[in-house]
Symmetry: D2
C-alpha cells in the first residue's frame, strides 16, 4: 500500500501562465516526504535535532504528464521501492482525479549531521518505511 | 560552448541543516533558463505576453553529487543537447569551484497559451538556442 | 468571532538558524487569507477567473513577538476590523499554544483585473466577510 | 547616502494575476539586507557561523503603492534610520524607474544564537551600518 496524502495547489504555487510552478511541486513533495515519516511516528524534527541525522536527496527523476491549475487537489501516492542500508528509493505518482499529473523517482540517503557520512537506518525508522514497501522489479530508480 | 552564469546560494535558499533546500535549486534553475533566452535577445516576458507561448517542463533528471552551503557561488553551465521541432533538451552542470554539485537534464516544450498544444520554435528563438548546441551522442535525456 | 485555522511550521519554512523564515510566514498568511474566503463559499479562483477581480494588498504592519521553530503548530486568528466599499482591514494574531508569535494588520483592496481600479465588494463576498466583523475602536490599520 | 541595489522581478516572483507575489518581495528584501552587510565586508555567514549571532526581524511596516509586473527592475534604496545598542532601524524605498512601488520600515535586532538574547553590535558592524545612517526626525519605525 502506498502512503497517500492530498494537497490543494495553492495560489502561491502557480506561475503567471496559470499553471503550477515546478519548484512549488518540489516544495509540496518535501512536505509529503516529511508526512510519510510522521505517519509511522518518527518526525524529521526528531531525526534532525535529537538524532542529529539529515536526509539529503541523491537523485530525482521527474516526468510532468499534465499541467495542474490553481485549485486542483493533488493526491500523492508514495511507493517505497527499496530500503537500503542507509538509502531509500521512493516512487511517487501524483494525480488529480483520474489523471496522472506527474511522477517522481527519488533516492534519499540518511547521513550523520556530525560526520556528513551515510549512516544505517535505525530499526524503528526502517520498520516504519517498510510498511509502505512495494518493490517494483521492472522499475529502476537511478 | 555552454551558456554560463553564476549565482550565490542565498540565506533563504538554505534549510535548517545548513545546506541548500532542493526546491530552491529548482527556483535558481528557472532563473538560469530565463537568462539563457535573454542572452540571445528574446525575453520570456515577450514569449509569454506578446507571443502567447509557454515553456512547460516535460522531464527533469537530477543528480545531487555534493551539498552546497550558504555563501557558495554556484556556476551553472547549460549545454543545449537538442533543439527539436517544439522541444528543447538541456543538460546543466552546476559547480562550486572545481566540484560538481549537481547536474540536471531537462526537457522543455514550447506551447501555445491559447490552444495548450506544442508549437514549433520561431526562427529567432531556434537560432538563439542553437548558439549553445552541443549534441551529446552518448547522453540521453528522458 | 475570528476566522481560525492552524498550520504547522514546515521544514521548508525554516531558515538555517532554525527559526521561521519571515517570507514563509507571509506565504502561510496568503493561504490563511484564501481559506477565510473559501470558508464562506467564495474561492479566490472564482473571484480571479470567473469574476475577473484581484485582491492586492495595500499595507501590512507586522510585529514579531517570539520566534517559532520547526514543528510548531501556528494558529491564525483573523479578525475582520473593517469592510469598506472596496477595501478590507484584517488583524491576525498568530499563536503557538498560549504564546503570541506574531501579529499583522493588513489592508487589502478589491480591484478589477481589466481596469486595474478598485471595485466594490459584491454582496455575497461582503456578507461573508462581515461574518467575521469585529471592529476595534481603539485599533487603527494604516 | 542610502545603500542601493537593483533586482529584476523574476518569473517565479509573480502570481497568476501577473503581478508580484508579496512573499517574493520579502524574500528579495532578505537578499537586499544581506547585501548591505556584505557591502561593508561583514557577511551574514560570518555573523551566523563564526560569531554565532542571528538577525531576527522585530517589526515591518509595508506600504504597497503600485504593482510591479514581470520584468520590472526594482531598485531598493535602504536608509539606515537608527543604530541602537543591539537594534537596527531601516527604511527602504523600492522604485521602478521614477515610480515608488513599495516602502518598508523594518526593525531588526542582533541576538546570540546561544543565549537567544539581544547582544550589542560589534564595533566593525556598527561602523559599517553607520556609513548609511540618515536619521529621519519625522519618521517613526514601530
Amino acid at each position: 500500500m502506498p502512503f497517500t496524502i492530498s494537497k490543494p495547489l495553492r495560489f502561491g504555487d502557480c506561475d503567471l501562465t496559470g499553471i503550477a510552478y515546478h519548484p512549488a511541486y518540489l516544495s509540496m513533495l518535501v512536505d509529503v516526504n516529511e508526512a510519510m515519516f510522521a505517519s509511522f511516528g518518527v518526525t524529521w524534527k526528531e531525526i534532525m535535532f535529537d538524532r542529529r541525522m539529515g536526509l539529503p536527496t541523491l537523485s530525482m527523476n521527474i516526468l510532468f504528464t499534465k499541467p495542474a491549475v490553481y485549485g486542483d487537489v493533488l493526491t500523492f501516492n508514495v511507493h517505497v521501492r527499496k530500503v537500503g542500508r542507509a538509502s531509500l528509493e521512493l516512487e511517487t505518482v501524483v494525480t488529480v482525479g483520474a489523471d496522472v499529473i506527474w511522477t517522481i523517482q527519488q533516492k534519499i540517503v540518511l547521513t550523520s549531521l556530525d560526520t556528513h557520512r551515510s549512516t544505517p537506518w535505525p530499526d524503528d525508522i526502517r520498520a516504519g518505511l517498510e510498511r509502505y514497501l512495494e518493490p517494483a522489479a521492472d522499475k529502476k530508480v537511478i
